[in-house]
Symmetry: none
Subunit: 263 residues, 2 copies
DNA sequence: ACGATTTATGCAGGATACTGCCAAACTTAG
DNA sequence: CTAAGTTTGGCAGTATCCTGCATAAATCGT
């Protein structure tokens, strides 16, 4: 009532969007931000900063940690231990994906740790044909009583645990699938679907072409990022299953005609 | 701007996640880390470092050891298989088989639990091409640094964890291998090599035909038995590796011109 | 212009997380 | 075996976080 702008003088950041922008820049240059530090810097309470950070984190722009935030790093862990990362979200996504499969369908399933989890949530009553280039997935389905599993051969890429190459592609091209679950390394509304390996990109392209419906499974952390090799535009997906819930993140996909399921 | 690596501000690391990231990087570049060293480096107590290491270890990202930690490359997928059967004998057989492989060779390896063990005993220096219809074997080789792995596609037989069918056979027929390790379900000097599945029998036939040398791996308990589907006469084998040592059991094979290695 | 609805912010509290210290148990090396 | 170094689990202090609520600013509809 008294002073219109309590402390916000020239040079001080008073608006939320401005702070967000600035936090991102700072994160880019310093590699880390602390909640307490930001609070004194912008002359706002720590609660406000925390809200800012929470918001930025929920739209996937930063990685929130106790005490502040870090830039979202590309995971430097090419091991099996990726399975542990984001467990919670992957479970939700995988379960939603498993529920999409109907009796009698032919389903293409790509590699990746999220896709691997689909196996756990497939109803044991389900009768379908699963086609995959992921040996771990085939193994995970070995205990399922009614599924028929077709393993796609090819060169085995150790890091990703999938097969690739012309052999894999040829075989995929001779299939007509109802459904395809594509493992997403990264997805960006404008850039599209991208991966870190050229061979894998070709395989994914073939899978997209072979299937009526193409479903992308992607956790929040990978949205809005991109990698060197392009698979295709995001619009090649007919559906997106994700744990992201921020409308600003999801709407760009909806406007491209992609059905979005948020778990 | 170049020197913005974490090292530059090692004394100021305040966030847990930051330390974690840094520890992983350090582990990647130095090959090991010491708790006491990390403590002075980050200016936190050793207790905190130990907690960090414990946490990283429990999520599978590092291997905790007394005094510090090591990278965790050698750890493979948590196989939940029942390979306990005949452990002792299978280890000896698998080790002898692994020793047969030479640099530059193309090696066909069939499914089966004994064959799977070959992966563990393959020298990490060995440079060769492994062709297999066993997804578990391909996975077991994923941590090997120098091998090239070709996965044979086909219908996945859940009980045996191998691929079969015309697709598998066609692909095998287009290969010229130096060596072939055949998993033996049962072997009889007169009846020959037999298995419990027709499709598998065809695949094994193709493998025998595609390889210069054919090695049968068989534990004592399976010798002298037979199953419904014939792969071919015992004489199709050029070598037999077994834990049987009874001359009466082995001589019938020797007299067919088969080299016999008893472990 | 006015009140009503929405949005942003700050504050209080209870809950949670992180850290350092300590004692007991354990490991490693002589 | 002992001795030194290491690890673990419990404890307490502090910092950080979240929830709900109240206030202030901004937006909106009439």
């Amino acid at each position: 009532m008294d002073g219109m702008k309590p402390e916000a003088e020239a040079g001080q950041i008073a608006l939320k969007e401005e702070r967000h922008q600035y936090i991102l820049e700072l994160l880019g240059s310093e590699g880390r931000v602390l909640a307490a530090d930001l609070s004194t810097r912008y002359k706002v309470s720590e609660d406000t900063i925390r809200r800012d950070l929470r918001e930025l984190a929920s739209s996937g722009k930063i990685q929130r940690v106790h005490g502040g935030a870090l830039p979202r790093r590309a995971e430097a862990v090419p091991f099996v231990s990726r399975q542990q990362i984001d467990m919670e979200s992957k479970i939700g996504i995988a379960r939603a994906a498993a529920d999409m499969i109907r009796d009698g369908q032919v389903v293409l399933i790509d590699g990746g740790t999220t896709n691997l989890r689909i196996a756990s949530y497939l109803s044991r009553e389900r009768l379908a044909t699963i086609v995959t280039n992921s040996p771990p997935l085939a193994l995970a389905l070995a205990d399922h009583p009614r599924l028929s599993v077709l393993m796609l051969g090819g060169n085995f890429v150790k890091e990703e645990r999938v097969t690739t190459g012309i052999e894999t592609i040829r075989r995929v091209e001779s299939i007509r699938a109802d459904l395809c679950f594509l493992g997403m390394c990264s997805l960006h509304p404008e850039v599209g679907i991208t991966v870190g390996d050229q061979e894998e990109a070709y395989v994914k392209q073939a899978m997209i072409g072979a299937s009526t419906e193409v479903v992308g499974l992607i956790s929040l952390g990978k949205m809005g990022t991109s990698l060197p090799y392009l698979v295709g535009p995001a619009s090649r997906l007919t559906r997106l299953i994700t744990d992201a819930s921020d409308e600003d993140v999801l709407n760009p996909y909806r406007s491209q005609g992609i059905e979005v399921t948020s778990t």
